[in-house]
């Protein structure tokens, strides 16, 4: 059974999970990034390799902030690749902050950033009060502060829940794909694993839709966040209309939206460890190719000179910038191959 993470990407994705690292995934209109986001998420939960020991070894909690895409999309795509998001949400290994829940005007939304756990059918997600940066910060702080599965207060209430989900998870996992690590592995997850991995999809939308937020403000928010989590992963848009103002020389070129976006993405790229770029084929489109993925080193190389320099450095040096073609298939699998292969 092939791993859900494409082999060429595995080493890079594993390196993205080193502590205090930041990863940036950029995409364009015709090549959205959800498949890659879910694979990064999967790696954060279970490790890159598809063996049982990894499910116990690694395993940081993941806080998943989705500002632009609905949970149904993530669930649907996750199911196809062996990531059972509903049961992960119930067992609180993944905590989901829903950026699309704030816009509706119905009365249930007035609870703001409280988790909606009362309804058993509803998955425990955190709703954003609004898309304002302050509310997102509050929601994230709330999620970071709320006791995770390890604390006894929620542990007592969570035990029957998670045991039930583990049985359903394994039953469902058996029906779908046998390689879904069941929630039983979740229970052995040690509380000392510490800080969660934070994944934010569409953070650049804040900058575009709220001119009141300055680039610096957003950057400082992300820097604070990065200090609180194990690894920070961001998905942003890098379409040429959003970036072209950075290539022109005159400072007044482009609208404020374009200038801010270019500034934001560029500075993010400089502070990330690895940069995953998705784009369409330059030569047009093809039936059997979804797009091009390019993995390149970001500006952040500080970790290479960390404490365990020797092997880490060698390991990191093995990884060079590379570019592949990829194809996203209907069954949720992704084929990644080099040109000419």
């Amino acid at each position: 059974m092939p791993s859900s993470i494409p082999a060429p990407l595995a080493a890079y994705i594993a390196d993205c999970l080193t502590p205090d690292s930041q990863t940036l995934v950029t995409s364009v209109l015709s090549t959205p990034a959800p498949w890659l986001c879910l694979r990064l998420l999967y790696a954060g939960l279970y490790g890159v390799e598809d063996s049982a020991r990894h499910t116990e070894q690694t395993g940081h909690e993941v806080i998943f902030v989705s500002l632009l895409r609905p949970l149904s999309l993530w669930t649907e795509m996750g199911k196809k690749m062996g990531l059972d998001l509903p049961s992960l949400l119930k067992s609180r290994r993944v905590r989901y902050i829903d950026g699309l829940a704030g816009g509706t005007t119905s009365s249930t939304m007035s609870t703001g950033s409280a988790t909606a756990e009362s309804d058993p059918q509803q998955l425990p997600t955190t709703r954003l009060k609004s898309m304002a940066l302050k509310d997102i910060r509050d929601a994230l702080d709330g999620v970071l502060k709320t006791p995770s599965i390890s604390t006894p207060s929620t542990g007592s209430s969570a035990t029957p829940l998670s045991s039930s989900t583990s049985t359903t998870g394994s039953a469902r996992g058996g029906a779908l794909t046998p390689r879904i690590p069941t929630a039983a592995a979740t229970r052995s997850f040690s509380p000392a694993a510490g800080r969660p991995t934070i994944y934010i999809d569409g953070i650049d939308f804040l900058l575009a839709s709220q001119p009141a937020i300055s680039t610096v403000e957003l950057q400082s928010f992300l820097a604070t966040l990065r200090s609180k989590c194990h690894a920070l992963m961001l998905a942003c848009q890098a379409d040429s209309p959003l970036l072209h103002s950075s290539s022109t020389t005159s400072p007044d070129a482009g609208t404020p939206l374009e200038r801010n976006h270019a500034h934001f993405i560029t500075s993010l790229a400089h502070s990330t460890r690895w940069l995953f770029q998705l784009r369409g084929l330059d030569t047009g489109s093809a039936n059997d190719i979804s797009g091009v993925i390019r993995v390149s080193r970001g500006g952040d190389d500080s970790i290479e000179f960390g404490p365990n320099e020797g092997q880490d450095k060698n390991h990191v040096q093995d990884l060079v910038d590379a570019e592949w073609l990829y194809q996203l298939k209907g069954d949720g699998s992704v084929r990644v191959w080099a040109r000419g292969e």
């Binding site: 699309l100 509706t104 005007t105 839709s209 001119p211 939206l257 039936n287």
Partner: protein, 389 residues
């Protein structure tokens, strides 16, 4: 491969997509909705058969997705697509919301070419075949009564099959005639939402409020269609609406509604590209917030060409394309990977009285080559007539 049991169906990819499979019965009850042939997700028709066919093999627009149609120039081809979309929704008994337009737009919707009209022709021809040729002129009267009886019996036969819950393929997408006017069904629900003109607040606030209210109040088997014609056009929209905080938050709000009411609504909008070019960051964000992005670029000379050619008897056979249609993004295929992609991104479109046709783009023969073509034309015809003596 030769050792594989032949009778076992390959259902792997379809099963993996569990969500639409779990409650198919519920989905069938939605008016004008049928499951996608590829993965079973519920889809509804856009009212334009060739546009349905373009949507990544799902043969319809998946519920919960939106189409953005961009058009450059001063033509209104996108408007025709939006009218078809609205008329289809009304005929399917879906709840139609139109943003920013006055109510008389409803009266200008194209009428459907009736199902009975379509059915009649084959019946009549069959009847003709039965009558001996020498009695044909005499038998006109009798034959017409005969067909009339047939006509009455046809709907009666069809009614039970429709009532049994089988979505008939004919009813999924109607054919519309732009010269006719739609007869609104008695139960049709159509709302016209007006924008707020107050410059200090978002013009889209009342729209989102209206949509949220009507979605939360409506019955769970109601499908909603949102139609937003010429978005941000200064003729309809106040000047502040093109500020990113208003328009982008509005589109995000629509997405929130999609997320809150999954599989209950679809949206279509058109954007004048001459005012908002694709090279601007704002338009790119609007595209990113839509599930399908199509661009219409009408050919500049098309108006003259139509006038000349439509007079000729052969005009209906092969109409010249009126513009280029480029596909920038398709729903479901691009973000979820489910669907059949084609390598084509360039298409041509032709809007005739009855339909909006989308065909693959083929370069026409070079201008100087017309003589050769005309020379070959009569030759070909001559041979044909020689053969058929």
């Amino acid at each position: 491969m030769s050792f594989r049991k032949r009778n076992v169906g390959l259902t792997g990819s379809a099963r993996a997509d569990g969500m639409p499979q779990t409650n198919p019965r519920e989905r069938v009850q939605l008016p004008g909705v049928r499951p996608s042939p590829l993965d079973g997700r519920p889809t509804t028709s856009t009212g334009t058969a060739s546009l349905d066919a373009l949507l990544a093999g799902h043969s319809g627009l998946a519920l919960g997705s939106s189409i953005l149609i961009e058009e450059s120039g001063t033509t209104d081809y996108a408007g025709a697509l939006l009218r078809f979309f609205a008329a289809e929704g009304l005929l399917q008994g879906q709840h139609v919301h139109v943003v920013g337009l006055p109510e008389h737009w409803a009266r200008e919707l194209p009428g459907a070419v009736g199902e009975s009209e379509k059915k009649e022709k084959p019946v009549e021809t069959k009847e003709k075949m039965k009558i001996a040729w020498r009695y044909e002129s005499l038998g006109q009267f009798g034959a017409s009564t005969n067909t009339r009886e047939r006509r009455q019996s046809l709907p009666a036969q069809e009614a039970p099959s429709l009532a049994s819950g089988q979505a008939s393929p004919v009813a999924f997408c109607h054919t519309f005639d732009l010269t006719k006017r739609l007869v609104h069904p008695a139960s049709s629900r159509m709302d016209f939402v007006q924008l707020a003109m107050n410059p200090t607040q978002s013009p889209f606030t009342p729209v989102l409020e209206h949509l949220g209210n009507s979605l939360s109040r409506s019955a769970p088997n109601t499908v909603h269609r949102i139609i937003i014609p010429s978005l941000l056009s200064p003729a309809l929209y106040p000047p502040q609406s093109s500020q990113p905080q208003y328009i982008l938050q509005f589109l995000h709000g629509i997405h929130s509604l999609f997320a809150a009411y999954p599989d209950r609504m679809t949206a279509i909008m058109s954007l004048p590209l001459s005012l908002y070019p694709r090279s601007s960051g704002l338009v790119r964000w609007m595209e990113l917030l839509s599930d399908a992005v199509l661009e219409l670029s009408p050919f500049p000379h098309s108006a003259d060409g139509d006038a000349q050619l439509s007079r000729g008897p052969t005009a209906t056979a092969d109409e010249p394309p009126q513009g280029l249609l480029q596909v920038h993004r398709l729903p479901i295929l691009h973000d979820r990977g489910s669907g059949t992609g084609t390598s084509e991104t360039d298409w041509t479109f032709t809007l005739s009285r009855r339909k909006f046709t989308i065909k693959p783009f083929n370069l026409p023969p070079i201008e100087g080559d017309t003589e050769a073509q005309q020379a070959s034309g009569p030759d070909h015809n001559g041979k044909k007539s020689d053969l058929e003596f």
